[in-house]
């Protein structure tokens, strides 16, 4: 019996030892990862915002009567770019929601613009305009990818801080608060793709490339030991 008892003591001691490290490093590491993915989200949205003045100018040149929609896009862009989310705000659901709403409104305004320009074949046939639309789709693909990866990192972080034993380090050492993920992308978010059925019609905007492939291992987190 004394063998079992000493074994028990050894087990408890070992468990306590391994617990001391819990969450001390893994919590800030997960948080840094989420913050880095947030930086990617911001730069993807910025990329889109940067394209809009040129796009609006191109559409105005060929479709000057579409003032309402052009004004909507310009104003939605101004609102979206005026909201600056700091990394502290990532734990603030209200502030995060404001950012997400403003960006979604811009997405919707751009969706309306896309629909409207279909009525202007002469605009569609301009190479410059086609390039701008390709760049816009590329930026929206990047936004979607960046949002997915940010959400993935946030979920990993949020799971980490409320999972035993990291929760000990998260609560006591870091005072870690959960971060806010994006809600599922709206349907308006889905960029149109090339449709080869339109034979005879002007070539539709081509599917651009989302230049952000990562090696496979970055997409799939290593299987956890617990």
């Amino acid at each position: 019996m004394s063998v079992i008892a000493s074994l028990r003591v050894a087990l408890v001691a070992l468990a306590a030892l391994s617990l001391t490290a819990c969450g001390i490093n893994s919590v800030p590491a997960a948080q840094e990862e989420a913050k880095a993915r947030w930086a990617d989200v911001q730069s993807a949205y910025q990329r889109r915002a940067d394209l809009i003045p040129n796009l609006v100018a191109a559409v105005r040149g060929a479709a000057a009567s579409e003032t309402t929609i052009l004004t909507n896009v310009t104003e939605a862009r101004a609102r979206a770019t005026s909201i600056n989310v700091t990394t502290e705000d990532l734990s603030n659901p209200a502030e995060f929601q404001r950012f997400q709403d403003a960006q979604n409104q811009l997405t919707q305004a751009l969706g309306q613009l896309r629909t409207v320009v279909e009525n202007y074949p002469q605009l569609q046939s301009q190479a410059r305009f086609a390039d701008l639309m390709t760049a816009l789709e590329g930026s929206e693909n990047r936004i979607n990818t960046a949002r997915d990866r940010y959400n993935e990192a946030v979920r990993a972080y949020n799971t980490e801080i409320r999972t035993f034993p990291s929760i000990i380090g998260a609560k006591i050492v870091h005072g870690a608060k959960p971060m806010v993920p994006f809600e599922a992308a709206e349907s308006a978010q889905t960029a149109p793709t090339v449709n080869l059925d339109n034979i005879g019609a002007p070539a539709p905007a081509a599917t651009p490339a989302a230049n952000d492939n990562a090696p496979a291992e970055q997409q799939q987190p290593a299987a956890a030991a617990n």
Binding site: A130, D131, A135, E152, T159, A206, A209, A210, N211, A224
Partner: protein, 191 residues
């Protein structure tokens, strides 16, 4: 004995704190669930939908292997019978990531994906080439080189013309502009 069982349980859980937390499968969004992707081929071409004749495919295979030797760019050409109901953007990104196209240290990978039954085409670009094969350039290749031939039913010619345009651009870009910070950090992780 109860305490012993408890201690054992803690010991079993404890190593988890040093491992990276995984996202439970159940909490993933549907868009992240991997579609059934084709197996990675031995070489740089997978013509599942048989759009390229065998002799042309052999030449393409050599062309792409030479490109790898010369340019350190992995250009992979794939045709699929079906995207399985997925969008081509999502499908191609999943495929490129699952196969890990290109060297992880410089991320110079390209995927030309043709889905003839869905009538869609896409060029997926790794971030190491984002300033060489830009969105706009990739769009131009698709719009000007590939689609006009596809519209005449020349799937093989269109695909090969797209590949030629990409290779031409790669060969002409000896000193590419620097890549983004997030791309550099991905390379660093791989190194």
């Amino acid at each position: 004995m109860k305490a012993g069982v408890l201690a054992l349980a803690i010991l079993l859980i404890a190593p988890g704190c040093s491992a990276k937390a995984d996202v439970p499968a159940g909490s993933r969004e549907p868009s992240e669930i991997a579609t059934s992707l084709p197996q990675r081929p031995e070489g740089p071409v997978l013509d599942e939908a048989h759009i390229i004749p065998d002799d042309a495919e052999a030449m393409l295979d050599k062309q792409l292997r030479d490109l790898w030797e010369r340019n350190h760019t992995a250009l992979v050409v794939v045709s699929v019978n079906s995207l399985g109901g997925d969008t081509i953007e999502h499908f191609s990104l999943q495929l490129a990531n699952a196969w890990g196209i290109g060297d992880a240290r410089d991320l110079r990978g390209l995927l030309v994906l043709v889905a003839p039954n869905e009538r869609q085409v896409r060029i997926e670009v790794s971030c190491g080439l984002e300033n060489v094969i830009t969105d706009v350039f990739a769009g131009q290749v698709i719009r000007e080189r590939m689609i006009p031939r596809f519209k005449h039913g020349n799937l093989s010619e269109g695909t090969l013309a797209g590949v030629d345009a990409l290779i031409e651009k790669l060969d002409a870009s000896a000193n590419p502009p620097p890549v983004s910070a997030s791309c550099r950090s991905k390379m660093k992780e791989a190194a």
